[in-house]
Amino acid sequence: MQVQSMEKTIRGLAYVVGDAVDTDQIIPAEHLVYSLTRPDERRMYGRFAMSGVPAAGQGLPFGHTPFTEPDVYRSRYTFVVGGTNFGCGSSREHAPFALTEAGARVVIAESYARIFFRNTVDGGFVTPFESEERLVGRVRTGDELELDTVRAHLTNRTAGEVLLLRPLGDIADILKAGNVFAYARQAGLIPAAP
């Protein structure tokens, strides 16, 4: 896994889902058997990312829009936009891993479940932003978004509006370091990498 600090600007398409999208919907349990390191297997996480979301909720407001097309291992969507309690349920780090492996860079939700949020940050996967207001119903799947990661401004270029996100707060240091290991090394808590 590459450890990299966030870019200033991230552009791409939005994929919108509803409230309480749990980790079983992000990556169904039956797929957790694959290795997260072997290249021929880890791509399965990209293929099945978000496949547990019921069809009517896949890619709002339209529904029936898969995150990753069948037999393709990467998603065309850079931003996952959700409602409240995104990532609730299990502690599986396979969930933020799957989104990242599919090619997503950022999740924007009204609120997060604690373990999912922590996993995204400590593992250096998708960056989790919180929106000031509800974006489900306002951003549509396929909208072109541009995120200024420093100012936490989100521009919906399709709708032509600017949406405010919350500042990253006390996790910013870990995000800047790249993941919790890099952070702990910078802080002198663990020795240099092998």
Binding site: M1, A20, D22, D24, Q25, P28, A29, E30, L32, V33, Y34, S35, L36, T37, E41, G52, V53, P54, T84, N85, C88, G89, S90, S91, R92, E93, H94, P96, S111, Y112, A113, R114, I115, R118, N119, D122, G123, G124, D170, N179, V180, F181, A184, L189, I190, A193, P194
Partner: protein, 430 residues
């Protein structure tokens, strides 16, 4: 300070901590299983080197439990990877599949094997690690990365949570179980009602519960988003722990002037059996509101509802009866599986009661609680309507995302198994 704050302070070698601050703490026990263990080991080796040693082999517990009785070769490989790591690192606490040491569901096994000790701090790669808090300790679930950092250092950073206090008072009627109480709480505060917070359970009705029932309360703290669930240790706790380990422990209580985020009071004597409707654990209904709902199957199992007392409760309803729908019985651990044969109601073993009633008997593991590989015992494959003693009913949780899962107590599940529709246990418990 609250119990949670005190335990975090002592493990950070500090006198005080305040909710909101981030601290580094020492971990007493790290638990992992077959799903998250192998990827954790991969990260551990990536970060600390191929020849790295775990920080303390006596503090790492490996409990394969999720995908055990399956022909899926990737799942079987994960158990093999744990086996190789245990051998390489000389780990004393590996409970290997296919050996007499095999246990089953990790959270129940941790209690049975004496790893849950008052005042201690336990981290696991599983969201229901909060179960251990029933023993007056701090426990929470994390991902592979955090677990790998602990493997190498014995440390983790944690944000000190605020504590919500849930006080249960009064006498618990015979038709209610801890499952009804916690489903009521989750219905009241919602699936994210305790996010980032500790949930402390208190009150005479809690201390009247056995350890197994207390574990049902703390197990489901995560279904309200809680970081940990906790119940102060008392003589019931100490007796349970002493029977299983000689290791020292320290009983910790919340101070009388501890600050709580909020306080909720329940009189259990007036509560009703509760059901969580599809597809969220906070989608609460009184059993009367959904009585008569047609079911395809019933499931009794998991860390929440697959403990011995859960089966005693189910058997008390199923004794001398026949189930009207497919009913799956899956003990959480091998110890419980054996106890089904040695525990009886009026001279008939629980195992016989279930077999005579026409139940399908499974082996100790997570089973269909989380769906799992296609050949998992009891897994939903289509649009089944299920009533289950498990803890989570988000879409697809038990296998198929077309299926619908109702969560309920073992009493309610057993009563419904007989009739084939959701049934108030008071109708059969006379």
């Amino acid at each position: 300070m609250t119990i949670t704050e005190k335990i975090l302070a002592s493990h950070a070698h500090r006198k005080r901590v305040t909710p909101g601050e981030s601290i580094w703490v020492d971990v007493d026990i790290l638990m992992t299983h077959d799903v998250c263990g192998p990827p954790t080991v991969d990260i551990f080796k990536r970060e600390f080197g191929q020849d790295a040693r775990v920080w303390d082999p006596t503090k790492l517990v490996l409990l394969p439990d999720h995908y055990i009785f399956t022909a899926n070769h990737h799942a079987n490989r994960n158990v093999r990877l744990l086996r190789e790591f245990a051998a390489e690192q000389n780990l004393p606490h590996f409970y290997d599949v296919g050996t007499p040491r095999y246990k089953g569901v990790c959270h129940v096994a941790l209690a049975e094997e004496g790893f849950n000790r008052p005042g201690s701090l336990l981290i696991g790669t599983d969201s229901h690690t909060c179960t251990s808090g029933a023993f007056g300790m701090f426990s929470t679930g994390v991902g592979n990365t955090d677990a790998a950092l602990i493997m190498g250092t014995g440390k983790i950073w944690l944000r000190v949570p605020e504590t919500m206090r849930f006080i249960f008072e009064g006498d618990l009627p015979p038709y209610l179980m801890a499952k009804d109480l916690i489903l009521a709480v989750i219905g009241d505060i919602g699936c994210d009602g305790a996010t980032y917070r500790a949930m402390e359970f208190d009150g005479d009705a809690v201390y009247a519960l056995s350890m197994q029932e207390r574990m049902t309360l703390t197990n489901m703290a995560i279904e309200a988003g809680g970081k940990n669930g906790v119940i102060a240790a008392d003589s019931v706790t100490i007796d349970y722990v002493r029977a299983r380990t000689d290791a020292p422990f320290e009983v910790v209580h919340s101070d009388a002037d501890a600050r709580y985020h909020s306080e909720y009071r329940y009189d259990v004597s007036t509560m009703e059996p509760v059901v969580a409707k599809p597809h969220r654990p906070d989608n609460r209904a009184g059993v009367g509101e959904v009585a008569g709902t047609r079911l395809d199957r019933a499931y009794v199992g998991s860390c929440t509802g697959g403990k011995l007392e859960d089966f005693v409760a189910a058997a008390s309803v199923l004794k001398g009866q026949e189930v009207g729908i497919d009913t799956y019985i899956v003990p959480a651990t091998t110890e419980i599986g054996r106890a089904l044969h040695t525990t009886d109601l009026d001279g008939v073993s629980l195992h016989e009661i279930f077999e005579n009633a026409g139940c399908l008997m499974g082996q100790a593991s997570c089973g269909a609680c989380l769906g799992g590989p296609k050949d998992t015992f009891g897994r939903n494959m289509a649009s089944e309507v299920v009533i289950s003693t498990t803890n989570r009913n988000f879409p697809g949780r038990m296998g198929s995302k077309q299926a619908s899962v109702y969560l309920a107590s073992p009493l309610t599940v057993a009563a419904s198994a007989i009739t084939g529709v959701i049934t108030d246990p008071r109708e059969v418990l006379v």
